[in-house]
Amino acid sequence: MGAKEKTKMSNIPSELKYSKSHEWVKVEGEIATIGITDHAQEELGDVVYVELPEPGRMLALDDIFGTVESVKAVSELYSPLSGEVVESNSALSGSEAALNDDPYQAAWLIKVRVKDTAELDALLTAEGYKAEIGE
């Protein structure tokens, strides 16, 4: 990972939904893939440890579903919607730097079977998230 300037704008893909706690959500059918945003990984710095839930765990909206740690900081992950965890990204174990390099693709965190599609409407659009983080 190279030097990143603070003046650099975050990557905020327009096709994704976002939470105020810096998670992104991508919905395909009944499955939502969840990760952390480029802005979040930038704020955290070098990610060195990721703790994710086991498949089968039921998450309610805003539940803490895991932890991301950088060398100097701990950040908890908040579920942007309710549902059952169907998969955790086991490839991240030992390759945590992927969260800095590719937060929207390779470094997705969990896949959740969406319980209440109405919750999706409450998430931020890319524009809304951009405003949220002041860019």
Binding site: M1, G2, A3, K4, E5, K6, T7, G45, D46, V48, Y49, T67, E69, S70, V71, K72, V74, N100, G134
Partner: protein
């Protein structure tokens, strides 16, 4: 944003602030200053310092001179280490202790000559230390001059730091003080540091600080922030004021008993208390590592194996970029301080197996 604007007005900046911002550093408030916490990233900066040279703006630290006939006598009676052992242009790690033996600050004392001493202290303790020095100067034929804001202080650290700084710095003994120039800038160099690597801290005038910083970067040194500095000092088992020590902690409980020279000729502040503390039951500061993947952090509770009550606490912890695992310093009862003793660290409600490990975790000087 308004809140930040208001806050930043009260925060101070070193003369290198613009250079930090221009280099893409992330700036955070620290001990009343706006300081760079990272540039390229903590991992890259730690690696640069362990493998080549890292540079750190530490201009926020306090620097004061005590000058006069009694300068030496003043430090003999104020500090627990033995300044009578110092020749001209030599320094030593030391402490300011209160009469109860509690640590007011950790400092470095340099003897420039018998009638002139330089003391370097923590940024967060500037006002407290200056007040303590002034108060204790009563009755001594010496004066205190706070020169903290008149110079810049840049730490140059790493296995190639001395080579990069040149022969006159290479000729200095550890904790030696000397003069040289770098990049055309005259500097006072002190062969010391806070990373577990060889290196020096350079004092230069305010106006030329950006030029010196730029010359160091041009020579291949990596600009490093407070994040890397903290990870490096924890790897090196070096204590930080407010974490491993404070006024409620005495040197014996902070792995700093070696600083206290009870047998030196001069009586000194805290001697009676420290004499009693030396042989009393103490908590100990130890290294702790986890074989698993958890990262111990400050204030995480420590348990004796299978115990239900916490017996200690993590004072500083981090992921060690050099060792690629969680490392910590922790305060535990003396009975649990032996290397290898099994412990458990509670991380977000879950106990993780750990054990007492030798300090430092890493050292290359």
């Amino acid at each position: 944003m308004l809140q930040w604007a208001e806050m930043s007005e009260a925060l101070r900046r070193t003369p290198l602030y613009d250079a930090h911002v221009a280099a893409g550093a992330r700036i955070v408030p620290f001990a009343g200053w706006e300081m760079p916490v990272q540039y390229a990233g903590v991992v890259a900066e730690v690696k640069a310092t362990r493998e080549f040279v890292g540079i750190f703006d530490v201009s926020h630290m306090g620097r004061a001179y005590v000058v006069g006939e009694d300068a030496k006598k003043f430090f003999e009676t104020l500090t627990p280490n033995d300044v009578s052992k110092l020749g001209n242009f030599q320094g030593q790690y030391s402490l300011l202790c209160n009469p109860n033996g509690g640590i007011i600050d950790d400092i470095i004392v340099y003897r420039v000559k018998q009638t002139e001493f330089l003391v370097i202290f923590n940024a967060g303790n500037r006002e407290k230390d200056l007040a303590w020095l002034r108060k204790n100067l009563t009755g001594f034929d010496a004066t205190l001059a706070d020169r903290s804001d008149e110079t810049c202080l840049i730490a140059v650290q790493g296995p190639k730091a001395i080579e990069l700084l040149g022969e006159s710095v290479a000729a200095l003994p550890r904790f030696g003080l000397g003069s040289t120039t770098f990049g055309g800038v005259p500097v006072t160099a002190a062969r010391t540091g806070y990373t577990g690597e060889d290196g020096a801290e350079l004092i230069c005038n305010l106006a030329e600080a950006p030029k010196l910083w730029g010359a160091l970067v041009a020579a291949g040194a990596a600009a490093c922030g407070l994040g890397a500095r903290d990870a490096l000092r924890i790897e090196a088992g070096l204590s930080l004021y407010g974490h491993e020590m404070d006024e409620s902690v005495n040197p014996y409980a902070a792995r700093l008993g070696w600083v206290v020279k009870l047998n030196k000729p001069a009586d000194f502040v805290g001697k009676a208390a420290l004499t009693a503390l030396k042989t009393s039951e103490q908590n100990r500061l130890v290294g702790v590592t986890l074989p698993g993947r958890g990262i111990p952090r400050e204030n995480y509770p420590i348990f004796a194996d299978a115990g239900t009550e916490s017996v200690g606490v993590v004072t500083s912890g981090t992921f060690s970029p050099t060792l690629q695992k969680g490392v910590a310093m922790a305060r535990v009862p003396a009975s649990l301080a032996k290397v290898g003793t099994p412990l458990q660290v509670e991380i977000r409600g879950q106990r993780h197996d750990a054990h007492v490990a030798p300090l430092p975790f890493y050292k290359n000087v």
